[in-house]
Amino acid sequence: MTVRLEATTLVSGSAQAETLVLSEPLSFWGGLDSATGRIIDQWHPERNDVMNGRILVMRAGRGSSSGSSVLAEALRRGTGPAGIVLLAGDAIVTVGAMVAAELYGKTCPVVLASEADWAAITGAGYLAIEAREEAAVIEI
């Protein structure tokens, strides 16, 4: 049975993919190799995992403000995530996804989920995101 969860749109778009759930926030700068989509932060619990084409689920953003460029470059090259689900709004992630959409027309929806739904979202192996300007829906 499909469960539909309400979410807030940070960057609009739609995506359906397997999830990559991060147990700690990731700084894209210094943490993501935009050539391969691989997590290269050696201190990160999910290091060496690849986010290419998956929906990235992480509580919050972290670290250097250069993260926006790294995310946008990964999306340009097609190595970035299909979508991003956050629990706390993050400007660096939002801008990176917005610029990839503006310059290249590559969409990576970014949505803000609510705390009550977090366990269900991180537990699902596969998500569908439909993020419109006014509101977003996450389907499990």
């Binding site: 050696q42 972290r62 250097s64 403000s65 250069s66 400007a91 801008v95 990176g96 917005m98």
Partner: protein, 414 residues
């Protein structure tokens, strides 16, 4: 939530101030709605982190703005680039990054930005005043401007920083707003290891712990050593903003919005109290090194964030005499270089085997000659990022430890 637009904002959007400003304002409006800002505020200055070549997207964005006739509307400084334009021969990376990086730096100058190329713009003539509304990027510069100077900026990133500079406007939310600047977490440093002669080590250890445990919640720190200097607070903020998302900290009795604990918390109670002991700090510093004492080193790297003149004043007495067995790099910026030249120190540093790196930094680009082994640093931020960025093992220690290790060619501690 819809953001409220002033008459000027509407003129910007309509293209009255040019197509580039209109494009920038469109991005800013969507950004403001994403972060929940109610309106925009005028800014006095901007600091841009877009000079580092992180792929074609870096150049595509700026060239797009130039094609649209873009020009910054407020004094705008630039963060480090990918190449040292003063010493281009130091660059040993790929042609694409070398050419793209140099073009990117030049393109930002064409937008009217000042070629400071430093991650420490707060230690130049562009140091913001207390209370100034600014739009800054670069995590260490953000945390320094907010914490040590009492200027007001959020954690702006690439692209949006330039949009603010092109419009002179920033979304009014977060740390632009006085009440959001109050501390939430009290961090009590109960004791500092007696064997640490420099306050710098304690500040890096505290900064790392604060970053790991506070995330983006504002901490107020008590119990830092009395000898804590501006450069120590710079190191604290830099590592806190690397290990966490700290954009503002208060150091009670040291930073301008925290004359007292009560002032830092704006009269409210802490949500959490974290106590750090000397053993916690020792453990944090131990974990910053990926190798044991005695490990052979290939290089020492200092100046992340960029070395200030005061830091050179501490370094100079340590370097004369025995030459180091390995490469020693110090990252700094053009204004400091001019002063080093005026004092005759540039020559003394070169004679002592020190390579000065200007306009960039050893862990964001390829200037170090040997990346095959372990590099030692006194920077918590460098220690945090370099293993992932340039693939080296890292040893962390005090400034004096770094100089002694450079002479020994291996990791030693005084």
């Amino acid at each position: 939530m819809r953001v409220q637009l002033s008459t000027f904002d509407q003129l910007l959007l309509a293209g009255d101030e040019g197509e580039a400003a209109a494009f920038a304002m469109r991005l800013l409006v969507r950004f403001a709605e994403a972060v929940g800002a109610a309106r925009f505020v005028d800014i006095e200055a901007a600091h841009i982190d877009g000079c580092l070549y992180l792929g074609e997207v870096s150049l595509d964005f700026v060239e797009h703005l130039l094609r649209l006739g873009g020009r910054v509307r407020v004094p705008t400084t630039l963060n480090v680039g990918s190449v040292d334009l003063i010493h281009p021969e130091l660059f040993v990376g790929s042609d694409q990054v070398g050419r793209g990086g140099a073009r990117l730096m030049k393109a930002h100058e064409e937008l009217g930005c000042v070629p400071t190329f430093t991650c420490a713009p707060y230690q130049t003539i562009f140091r913001p005043r207390f209370g100034a509304q600014i739009a800054w990027a670069e995590s260490n510069a953000i945390v320094f401007a907010n914490s040590v100077l009492g200027a007001r900026t959020n954690r702006y990133g690439d692209f949006i920083d330039l949009c603010c500079a092109l419009t002179g406007r920033a979304p009014y939310y977060g740390l632009h707003v006085g009440e959001n600047r109050r501390a939430r977490i009290l961090v009590e440093v109960e004791s500092v290891p007696e064997e640490w002669a420099e306050a710098g080590l304690a500040c890096v250890a505290v900064g790392h712990a604060v970053g790991r445990r506070c995330g983006d919640r504002v901490p107020a720190i008590t119990g830092l050593p009395a000898s804590t200097s501006e450069d120590d607070l710079k190191a604290l903020g830099a590592v806190a903003a690397s290990a966490g998302a700290v954009a503002l900290f208060h150091a009670v009795g040291l930073t301008p919005e925290a004359p007292t604990v009560d002032a830092a918390f704006q009269g409210r109670a802490p949500e959490e109290v974290i106590r750090l002991t000397a053993e916690d700090l020792r453990e944090t510093v131990r974990k910053l090194s990926t190798v044991p004492d005695g490990t052979p080193l290939t290089a020492v790297s200092l100046g992340t964030p960029h070395f200030s003149l005061a830091e050179f004043e501490r370094l100079m007495p340590l370097i004369d005499g025995v030459r180091p067995m390995i490469d020693v790099y110090v990252n700094t910026h053009r204004a400091v270089l001019e002063e080093l030249q005026r004092r005759g120190w540039e020559e003394r540093l070169r004679a002592a085997g020190v390579t000065l790196v200007i306009d960039t930094c050893t862990y964001v680009t390829t200037v170090m000659r040997d990346l095959s082994g372990t590099v030692m640093t006194n920077s918590g931020k460098w220690a945090y990022y370099a293993p992932g960025n340039i693939g080296v093992d890292v040893a962390f220690g005090s400034l004096a430890d770094c100089v002694a290790s450079a002479r020994a060619g291996k990791l030693v501690r005084l």
